[in-house]
C-alpha cells in the first residue's frame, strides 16, 4: 500500500478462553465508527480452551480487502504469543504484554516493548480477562485516540452486566491509557476520523442477511464449522423476521427438509461445510430432477475429510461440481467477499426460481468467519425479487377430481384422467410453470425418477428411450441461456500487463492488493476474479487468455481445482500457478513473491512459505 494511506495492523494473540473476541470487537467498533475500513482474520483451533488464537485486524482509510502482510502492534495475552510472534515485529512496531506473567523475547532493533504491570494497574483484580481491557486502553493511547470513545463502547458492551462491571472496565482501561501515556512512546500517526460510520459483519452474517433480504422463509442446518454462523444469525433473527429455522438431525435431513419447504413455495436454504455437503449431494440431484429451486451453501475448510476444521482452503470445487450422479442443471457461484456474498443471495434466488433448479454457493472460512467493515448504505435489504413461473392462484374451471372413467393415457397404462396440468410441460424454453401444493386445479406429483411431462414415471411399466431423451433435453434446454442472466467476470488493471492473475471466490481481495504492490514495483499485472462457476463465461475468459502475455492462476488448494475445471470447460491452460494448502489464507506479499518467481521461470507452481505460524 502506498505510504500516504492510513494502514495499520493490530494483532492480539492468546489461548482459547482468554477472551480475545471482546477486545477485538471493541477495537473494531472504535475504528468503524470513525469511518475506517477494517479486515480481520482470526486464526484458531478446533478446541474450546487452550491452543493459540491469533486475531489480525487491519484498518485503513481506504477499503481493506485482506489482513495484510505486516503488523504494527502486537498484544500478547500469553507467553506463547510472545514466543511465536515477536519475530514478526519490525522497527517502529509496538508489543504490549503483561509483564507480571510474560517474559519478553529479544526483539529486532526498533521494536518498542510495552510491558504492562497488570497486577499493579488493576489492584490485583483476579479476573483474568481484565488484562484485555487494560491493553485496550494502552492501544488507544499508543494510537493517540481520545479515551472517550473507548469509555462509550465499554459502557455499551458491559451495561447489561451492571454498572459495577462497566465501572471496573472503564477504570482499568483508563489505567492502561494513563500508564501508556506515562511510559510508552505513541505511534507517530494520526488515526483518521470523521468518515461516514461503517458497520461490521462477517461473511456468514452477510450470507444469512442476503438470504433474509431475498425472502428466505425456511432455513435449516446441522452445525458445522465454518458455516455455523449462518445458523446462529438465522436462529437469533428467526422470530423477528418470520423465518422458520430448524436444526436437523444430520445434513441429509437438512438438505431434504430444505427441499420439502422449497416445494411448498418458500425460499429455502441451508449451509454446511465440505463433509456435511458430501452428505447433501444426493439431495442436490433430487432437487434438480424434481425441478425445485433451493439454495445450498458450502463454506469450505481445509481437508480432506474432517481435515483442519478451523482453517481455510478452496478445496471443495470438484466436490461441488460432482455433487450427485449424472448430468443436471444447477448454478454454482463463489462470491468474492462478504458484501458480494450478500448481494449474491437475492440474485441467486431469482435465478433458481426462474430456472427451477438448485443453486450452490461456495464460501470459505476466510469470507465466512472473517470480520469486515461495510458501508451500511451498500447493504440493500430490499432487493428485486422475481419468483419466475409459479402458479399460486387456484382455478375452479378445471377440477382435480377425475371424471371417474379410466382410460388409456399414453403411458401404456390405464388411469384416471388428470386435471390436465403438466408440471413438466415440454415448453420451448424448457421452463414449465410450477404450481405450489395447495393450489386448486393443479394437483400433481413431482418425482426423482425420470418422469414424463405430467409427472408420471417413465421407469415404471414402460420405459421409453424417446420420452427419456425428451425430458433430459427439456431440462438441459432451460439452462442453455442461463449464462446470459449473470455478469461475465471483469478484467481489472493494466491492459497490456506482463502477467494476468486469475483467481476465484475469496482470493479477490488479496490478489487486488498484490496487483497494486506489483505495479508499484513496476511489474504490470492485471486481474480476473471469477465468481460464477456454473454457468461459466467461458468465452469471456478465453478472450482474456488470448490477450494475456502470461496467465497465472492463484488458488488456495493443492491440485489446482479451478485450473482443472477451467481447462475442462475451455481447454485453456495457464502458464503458472500460485497455490497454498497449509490452512492459512494468502498474504499479499506471498502472491507478489509468487509472481516474481514465476516471471523468473524457476518454477511453474509457486507455493509460498507461511511465516505466521498459528
Amino acid at each position: 500500500m502506498s505510504s500516504d494511506r492510513f494502514d495499520l495492523a493490530i494483532a492480539i494473540g492468546g489461548a482459547a478462553g482468554q477472551g480475545i473476541a471482546t477486545p477485538g470487537n471493541v477495537l473494531a467498533r472504535i475504528f468503524i465508527r470513525r469511518g475506517l475500513h477494517l479486515n480481520a482474520y482470526n486464526a484458531y483451533q478446533s478446541i474450546i480452551r487452550g491452543g493459540h488464537i491469533f486475531l489480525t485486524m487491519r484498518i485503513g482509510d481506504q477499503p481493506v480487502h485482506n489482513h495484510g502482510d505486516k503488523l504494527d502492534l502486537l498484544v500478547c495475552l500469553n507467553q506463547d504469543t510472545m514466543d511465536r510472534h515477536l519475530g514478526l515485529m519490525g522497527p517502529g512496531t509496538r508489543v504490549i504484554y503483561n509483564s507480571d506473567t510474560i517474559t519478553p523475547g529479544s526483539p529486532e532493533d526498533g521494536v518498542h516493548l510495552c510491558p504492562l504491570p497488570i497486577g499493579e494497574l488493576t489492584d490485583n483484580n483476579r479476573n483474568k480477562l481484565v488484562q484485555n481491557t487494560v491493553a485496550l486502553g494502552t492501544i488507544l493511547n499508543l494510537l493517540d485516540v481520545d479515551f472517550q470513545i473507548l469509555e462509550d463502547i465499554l459502557t455499551m458492551q458491559f451495561q447489561r452486566k451492571g454498572q459495577d462491571v462497566v465501572d471496573e472496565n472503564v477504570g482499568v482501561a483508563r489505567a492502561g491509557y494513563d500508564y501508556a501515556a506515562a511510559h510508552f512512546e505513541p505511534f507517530s500517526l494520526t488515526v483518521p476520523s470523521g468518515g461516514k460510520p461503517l458497520a461490521v459483519w462477517n461473511g456468514n452474517d452477510a450470507i444469512a442477511m442476503g438470504g433474509a433480504a431475498a425472502g428466505v422463509k425456511f432455513y435449516c442446518a446441522y452445525p458445522m464449522s465454518p458455516s455455523t454462523g449462518v445458523l446462529h444469525w438465522m436462529a437469533k433473527n428467526a422470530r423477528e423476521l418470520g423465518i422458520m429455522v430448524r436444526q436437523v438431525e444430520d445434513e441429509i435431513g437438512v438438505a431434504n427438509m430444505a427441499i420439502g419447504a422449497a416445494h411448498t413455495g418458500c425460499r429455502s436454504m441451508c449451509a454446511t461445510s465440505g463433509g456435511g455437503f458430501a452428505l447433501m449431494t444426493e439431495a442436490v440431484g433430487s432437487a434438480a430432477m424434481m425441478e425445485i429451486p433451493v439454495v445450498f451453501i458450502d463454506v469450505q475448510r481445509a481437508g480432506p475429510s474432517t481435515g483442519v476444521p478451523t482453517k481455510t482452503e478452496q478445496g471443495d470445487l470438484w466436490q461441488i461440481l460432482g455433487a450427485s450422479q449424472v448430468d443436471f442443471e444447477r448454478f454454482i457461484v463463489a462470491p468474492t467477499d462478504a458484501l458480494d456474498a450478500f448481494n449474491t443471495m437475492p440474485e441467486l434466488f431469482n435465478l433458481v426460481d426462474h430456472f427451477q433448479c438448485p443453486g450452490i454457493v461456495i464460501s470459505d472460512l476466510l469470507i465466512s468467519e472473517g470480520t469486515f467493515s461495510v458501508d451500511p448504505d451498500a447493504i440493500d435489504m430490499q432487493p428485486h425479487i422475481d419468483r419466475g413461473a409459479v402458479i399460486t392462484e387456484s382455478r375452479t374451471d378445471v377440477s382435480d377430481i377425475p371424471t371417474g372413467s379410466q382410460e388409456a393415457n399414453g403411458h401404456g397404462l390405464i388411469g384416471a384422467p388428470s386435471n390436465g396440468y403438466l408440471r413438466y410441460e415440454n415448453t420451448e424454453s424448457g421452463i414449465s410453470p410450477r404450481a405450489l401444493p395447495g393450489v386448486q386445479g393443479y394437483a400433481h406429483v413431482v418425482a426423482t425418477d425420470e418422469h414424463d411431462e405430467d409427472g408420471v414415471l417413465v421407469s415404471d411399466e414402460f420405459t421409453n428411450p424417446h420420452k427419456r431423451r425428451k425430458m433430459v433435453e427439456k431440462r438441459a434446454r432451460k439452462f442453455k441461456g442461463a449464462a446470459g442472466h449473470i455478469d461475465p467476470p471483469e478484467l481489472s488493471g493494466a491492459a497490456d500487463a506482463e502477467v494476468t492473475l486469475i483467481g476465484w471466490g475469496s482470493t479477490r481481495g488479496v490478489i487486488s492488493e498484490a496487483v497494486e504492490m506489483l505495479s508499484e514495483e513496476g511489474i504490470a499485472v492485471n486481474h480476473l476474479p471469477v465468481k460464477w462457476i456454473v454457468p461459466l463465461h467461458a468465452e469471456a475468459i478465453a478472450d482474456v487468455f488470448a490477450n494475456a502475455k502470461r496467465t497465472v492462476i492463484v488458488e488456495n488448494n493443492y491440485s489446482g481445482q479451478f485450473h482443472r475445471y477451467l481447462r475442462s470447460e475451455t481447454g485453456l491452460t495457464a502458464d503458472g500457478h500460485i497455490r497454498k494448502y497449509d490452512g492459512e489464507p494468502f498474504m499479499p506479499h506471498q502472491i507478489v513473491e509468487g509472481v516474481r518467481e514465476l516471471l523468473a521461470e524457476t518454477t511453474d507452481i509457486y507455493v509460498p512459505y507461511q511465516e505466521v505460524i498459528v
Binding site: D205, K217, I243, G260, I379, T448
Partner: protein, 306 residues
C-alpha cells in the same frame, strides 16, 4: 406469473363437493404385483380421505423409493416421490412450509426403518403433524427381495440365503419411545380397520405412525396373507388403553400365534412442532407470505452492526 398470497380459507370459499374413494385415483393404475398388500392400503387411504372430506389439492403425499413408495403416483393429491429414505425429512420441511396442508407420508419398511431410520426417530420426537403410513412387508420389494429391518430372524432372502441373523426392530415400541404421539398397527387385508385408523391418525394432531402389514406376495413367502389372517387380533376388542405405554409396548412385542393390530398408543395433549413455533402464529402458510423484510426490520439489523 407472480406470487399471490392466497390463504387457504380463500381457496376453500367454494363449498367442497363430497368426494368418493374413486376420486382419489391417480393418473395411472398401480403397477404393483397382483395381490400386493399395498392395494389395500391405497384403497383405505382413498376411502379415509373421502370420509374426512379432504380435497385432493389440500393433501400432500410424500414418499421415498420402493414398491410402496410408488404410492403418490397412484393417489390423486399433490405428491412428492423423493429419495429413498428421506420422505419424513422432506415432509417436515413441507409441513413447516405450508402447515395448512394435510401431509401423508407413505413408504416401506426399508425406506422408513432402514435407510430412513434416523429421520423416523427425530420426526417422531418433534411431533411433526403428519400421518406416516408404512407398508411393512418385511422385505425389500422393489430391489427383488433382500432382508429388511423388520424381517424375522432366520428369514431367507437373496441377501440372507442362510437366514437372517439380526433381530428385527419393532416399529411400534420404537415409535413410542421416540416420542410419537399416535402409534398404530394394521393389516392391509382388513381395509375397514385400516381406514378407521387412518381417519383417527389424520384427526390426531401430531406425528401419527401406522405400521401396516402389507404382504409382498412375490418375495416374502413367510409373512403372507394367511400368516397374518390367522394371527391378527384387534386391540380394540380387548379394551386396551392407548394411554398406557407399558401395556402398549407389551402388546406390541407379542409376536406369535397372536399379533395385535389397532391403536397401541396415543398422547393427545402434546403440542406439535408447528404449535411451538411462534413464526407460524402470524397466520397462513409461510410459503404464501410476502417475501423479504421490512425497512424497519433491516434498520434494526444494521444498527446492531454499527
Amino acid at each position: 406469473m407472480s406470487v399471490e398470497t392466497l390463504t387457504r380459507d380463500e381457496v376453500q370459499e367454494k363449498p367442497a363437493v363430497p368426494l368418493k374413494a374413486k376420486d382419489y385415483k391417480g393418473k395411472v393404475d398401480p403397477d404393483w404385483c397382483p395381490g400386493c398388500g399395498d392395494f389395500g392400503v391405497l384403497s383405505s387411504l382413498q376411502r379415509a380421505c373421502a370420509n374426512l372430506g379432504l380435497q385432493p389439492h389440500e393433501i400432500l403425499t410424500i414418499s421415498g423409493i420402493g414398491c410402496s413408495s410408488n404410492f403418490p403416483g397412484f393417489f390423486n393429491s399433490y405428491g412428492m416421490h423423493t429419495l429413498h429414505g428421506r420422505a419424513l425429512a422432506v415432509a417436515t420441511g413441507a409441513q413447516m412450509g405450508n402447515h395448512e396442508l394435510t401431509v401423508f407420508v407413505t413408504g416401506g419398511d426399508g425406506d422408513g426403518y432402514g435407510i430412513g431410520g434416523n429421520h423416523f426417530t427425530h420426526t417422531a420426537r418433534r411431533n411433526v403433524d403428519l400421518t406416516y403410513i408404512v407398508m411393512d412387508n418385511q422385505i425389500y420389494g422393489l430391489t427383488t427381495g433382500q432382508v429388511s429391518p423388520t424381517s424375522s430372524i432366520d428369514m431367507r432372502t437373496k441377501s440372507t440365503p442362510f437366514g437372517s441373523v439380526e433381530a428385527p426392530i419393532n416399529p411400534i415400541t420404537a415409535a413410542i419411545m421416540n416420542g410419537a404421539t399416535f402409534v398404530a398397527r394394521a393389516f392391509s387385508g382388513d381395509a375397514r380397520h385400516l381406514t378407521g385408523l387412518i381417519e383417527q391418525a389424520v384427526q390426531h394432531r401430531g406425528f401419527a405412525l401406522i405400521d401396516v402389514f402389507s404382504p409382498c406376495v412375490t418375495f416374502n413367502k413367510d409373512n403372507d396373507y394367511p400368516f397374518f389372517k390367522q394371527r391378527v387380533k384387534k386391540l380394540e376388542d380387548e379394551g386396551h388403553d392407548p394411554g398406557d405405554w407399558k401395556a402398549a409396548c407389551e402388546k406390541a412385542m407379542i409376536w406369535g400365534d397372536e399379533i395385535y393390530t389397532g391403536l397401541f398408543f396415543q398422547k393427545k395433549d402434546a403440542p406439535t412442532l408447528g404449535d411451538q413455533e411462534p413464526v407460524l402464529d402470524e397466520g397462513g402458510a409461510i410459503a404464501r407470505r410476502e417475501l423479504g423484510i421490512t425497512r424497519d426490520q433491516s434498520d434494526r439489523i444494521i444498527k446492531r452492526m454499527m
